[in-house]
Symmetry: C2
Subunit: 204 residues, 2 copies
DNA sequence: ACTTTGACTAATATATTAAAAAAGTCAGAA
DNA sequence: TTCTGACTTTTTTAATATATTAGTCAAAGT
């Protein structure tokens, strides 16, 4: 069992390497098998189909992302600094795994039930993480709002919206360079500063 | 001269009707000519090519948009209310002319120089409008920031980002329904409230 | 001169099919 | 239980024919 899980992990890691370099669409199951020096049916022994492997990859990347978020998370810091830190990590993963964008992968991958379900779960996890940040800040008396989960969702969607704006400015199928991401990061930080101040408790 | 301009306007309005109902890609020059009961070469007498006509259409829609913005703009109102009003108008046009999305039109329309130039000009106009709102609010002492044009741009991009997020949730080639737009509008208003509060001058 | 048109050509998109590549399977070996 | 060579099925890609649409032009109407 534990050996089988290890092999599964190895396959996922091999797939991540290919996916994040060439994209999902340009990676075949044969490519992955050859990289790992195993046969294709071996892959299919661990994953019933390519979609399942993709789901596994997405899951793994998000897990790494959340792990790093939690590791770097210092509740004693100010909300603003926590958000800054979080943005840096988020955009780090954004750049590193940009090629993973599922929209560029298999055509109807969004219609896949397992994928939709997984993405919903992961998105909700991220929302929950942000809600937690905001709620702790409220407990500390830094900010105040009746509906923090709602506000966390709004904040996260605004961040993601800014990310999309930056991708769109980049012409199609062009990788985001460091300069573009830095500009984007700055915008997200600026928004975060205004956002936290907008929720802040005025002392008087 | 003035007659020729009138004809030009008629063609543009005819094109808008077709474009906003069927989309740019599904509308042929013949369709437009037939609607207006003129021949195709007549169209080409007023517009050198389809792209020019599209540019004319985009220009006209934006002009209408800006006219309405300015008409409804009441400088004596609070920033927050001005932004609310502006969001309503913006999203009204967004819905009405959703089919006009150029990304769904001719394939390489973004590579067209005249189009890029026109879009840049129009985007800058909108930015300037928002910058004006924020700067007047600063003059009135409602809000404060060293670089208002920068903040206006950030605000506008955040709004547009939220719009994109809502489009993306809608599956491809699906029109945004009233409910979806209302939800989006609410998010934009929520953000606007927090945003203005984040820029507000604390009295003490 | 300014505007319009029918009849045309050139470019582009769509539909069709054939070939290639990739996904996925299976009987059996390690 | 895990793995593989050889296989079938499905999906992409490439090539080509067909149909639509963009765009032109010489000539006619105003």
């Amino acid at each position: 069992m534990i050996v089988a899980d290890k092999k599964r992990e190895q396959i996922i890691e091999g797939a991540i390497k290919r996916f994040s370099h060439f994209g999902i669409g340009k990676t075949t199951m044969n490519d992955i098998a050859e990289d790992l020096s195993v046969s294709k049916p071996s892959l299919y022994y661990y994953f019933p189909d390519k979609k399942s492997l993709i789901v596994g990859v997405i899951e793994k990347v998000f897990t790494d992302y959340f792990d790093l978020l939690k590791k770097k998370y210092n509740p004693d810091d100010t909300v603003e600094n926590i958000l800054f830190q979080t943005i840096e990590i988020r955009n780090g993963f954004f750049m590193k795994y940009f090629m993973l964008r599922i929209s560029e992968g298999l055509p109807d991958i969004f219609n896949d039930d397992a994928m939709k379900k997984k993405l919903t779960v992961l998105k909700d996890s991220e929302k929950a993480f942000y809600a937690d940040i905001f709620e702790r800040a409220q407990d500390k008396g830094e900010i105040k709002h009746e509906n923090m989960p709602h506000i966390a969702e709004l904040y996260l969607e605004s961040l993601m919206g800014l990310t999309n704006m930056c991708i769109m400015e980049l012409g199609k199928d062009l990788l985001p360079d460091k300069k573009t991401v830095n500009k984007m990061t700055q915008k997200q930080k600026d928004l975060s500063s205004i956002f936290t101040k907008g929720l802040s408790v005025n002392r008087h």
